[in-house]
């Protein structure tokens, strides 16, 4: 039935929908590339928005070295960025095993593809675990800080310039502290989830008593370090401005700096981590297909290559996140 088929006059040509493949690439690979392009634009949207906020708070943005300075089993040791660098290596290395799997696939070596796919999955899982640990440290916080009525963060240092934690400042005031809840008639407030470990008064009293502790603001001086106030000025700031205790980070408050800093941290690394977990899932599916011999029967390991493209893209995004979140 000729009449039911629309003729375009392009049969047999490159874009005619026949056996010729446009751009000399298979359908699946082409679509993966187009997906990657659009996904890259999504990530650039996030990173550009991060850049916007960073420029907006140009001289009061937290210094990444001071925020991300934890390393497993090294408690209290200042290890700026070692851990993120390690995570970067893990991801790059899993990218290498992926491309080795693709290469082995071209030579139809089932055993090698299996091993390399397995290593890639392991790399992805280790990366995800590292990210979870990073998030835990970020959410829990290390030193704690005080928030002013204008939403600025005041941190504490001693006269040597070392950071001081809230627990070393607070005095026990034996207060009767109750969290505000709507059921207690405070209908105009949102429910307070948890009380902070110390009340603002305990911090204020402790601060007054300890002469060697100073307030550090978020503002940068000309060397890019944060401005530390004199003792007199610190007392004024603590008495007149401090209204809240902040421990760790959530979407509305964080002890590191502007709330947007934590928001972008959660959204960008979270969105990337989500991509990694999808990638691990796809890699596991491919891994089992390789073992079952699906691609051996199909006569082509192109599926490994297509998922490989996605996996490399995830690595590519991390390279940018690493630079703009941790280095710049």
């Amino acid at each position: 039935m000729e009449a039911t088929v629309a003729r375009t006059g392009t049969e047999g040509k490159t874009w005619g929908g026949g056996s010729k493949s446009p751009l000399k690439s298979s359908y699946g690979k082409l679509m993966m590339w187009f997906f990657i392009t659009s996904d890259a634009l999504t990530f650039s949207g996030f990173l550009a928005a991060y850049g916007f906020s960073r420029f907006k708070f140009l001289d009061s943005w937290p210094i990444a070295d001071e925020v991300f300075n934890h390393f497993p089993f090294l408690h209290g040791v200042d290890a700026p960025m070692y851990y993120v660098a390690l995570m970067t290596f893990i991801l790059i290395f899993s990218s290498v095993t992926m491309v080795l799997a693709v290469d082995a696939g071209h030579h139809m070596k089932k055993g090698k593809v299996t091993i390399y796919m397995f290593l890639t999955v392991i790399g992805g899982v280790i990366f995800l675990g590292s990210q979870a640990w990073e998030w835990k440290n970020f959410i829990k916080g290390t030193y704690g800080a005080v928030e002013t009525s204008g939403g600025q963060i005041l941190q504490f240092v001693n006269t040597d310039g070392e950071r001081v934690a809230l627990k070393d400042i607070a005095v026990d005031l034996d207060e009767d502290r109750v969290s505000h809840e709507r059921k207690n008639g405070l209908w105009y407030t949102t429910d307070e989830k948890n009380l902070t470990t110390y009340s603002i008064n305990e911090i204020k009293e402790g601060f007054k008593a300890k002469n060697n502790i100073l307030v550090r603001t978020l503002e940068n001086d000309e060397n890019g370090a944060k401005v530390v106030l004199s003792r007199e000025k610190s007392l004024v700031y603590m008495n007149d401005r401090a209204v809240n205790v902040v421990e760790g980070a959530n979407l509305t408050h964080n002890e590191y700096g502007p709330p947007l800093f934590a928001d972008f941290f959660f959204f960008i690394t979270g969105f990337h981590g989500f991509h990694v977990s999808i990638g691990v899932l796809l890699n596991i599916i491919i891994f089992f297909n390789v073992i079952l011999g699906t691609y051996e029967r199909r006569g082509s390991y192109e599926m490994v290559e297509k998922v490989g493209l996605y996996w490399h893209f995830v690595d590519l995004v991390w390279v940018f996140v690493f630079t703009f979140f941790y280095l710049v």
Binding site: S25, W33, T37, S44, G51, F89, H106
Partner: protein, 121 residues
């Protein structure tokens, strides 16, 4: 197509992969060392609105991105059309987005500094 280049003998493709891995690792190590040391000279020299150090980070990042796309994602073996469809689209749209948002962010910063009595209270 990607197949053609990898149909060389077993060794050379794998060798290139390890070479690219070595370069990527070296670049990352340089970035981390610079990030920790933060040499005074690089931090204080400003070049087009940003410190020289930040420019070095950005250039090294783009270099790493180039290596990953070209060597690991086999972009170097794809046809010219596919390469341009992916790379030019990205580069054009991302530069546009960055230009708009960073200019705007800088403007908002100016407003914060000069447009009101105080924002730090």
């Amino acid at each position: 197509m990607a197949h053609e280049a990898t149909h060389q003998d077993d060794g050379s493709a794998a060798k290139r992969i390890w070479l690219v891995f070595a370069i990527l690792s070296a670049v990352t190590i340089v970035e981390v060392v610079l990030g920790i040391l933060k040499p005074d000279f690089l931090v204080k020299t400003t070049f087009i609105y940003m410190s020289l150090l930040n420019w070095i980070f950005i250039v090294l990042t783009l270099y790493k991105a180039y290596l990953i796309t070209w060597a690991f994602m086999h972009m170097e073996h794809e046809s010219k059309g596919l390469r341009r469809a992916v790379v030019w689209t990205g580069v054009f749209l991302i530069s546009y987005l960055l230009f708009i948002l960073l200019t705007e962010g800088d403007y908002v910063y100016e407003v914060y500094q000069n447009g009101q009595m105080t924002w730090d209270f």
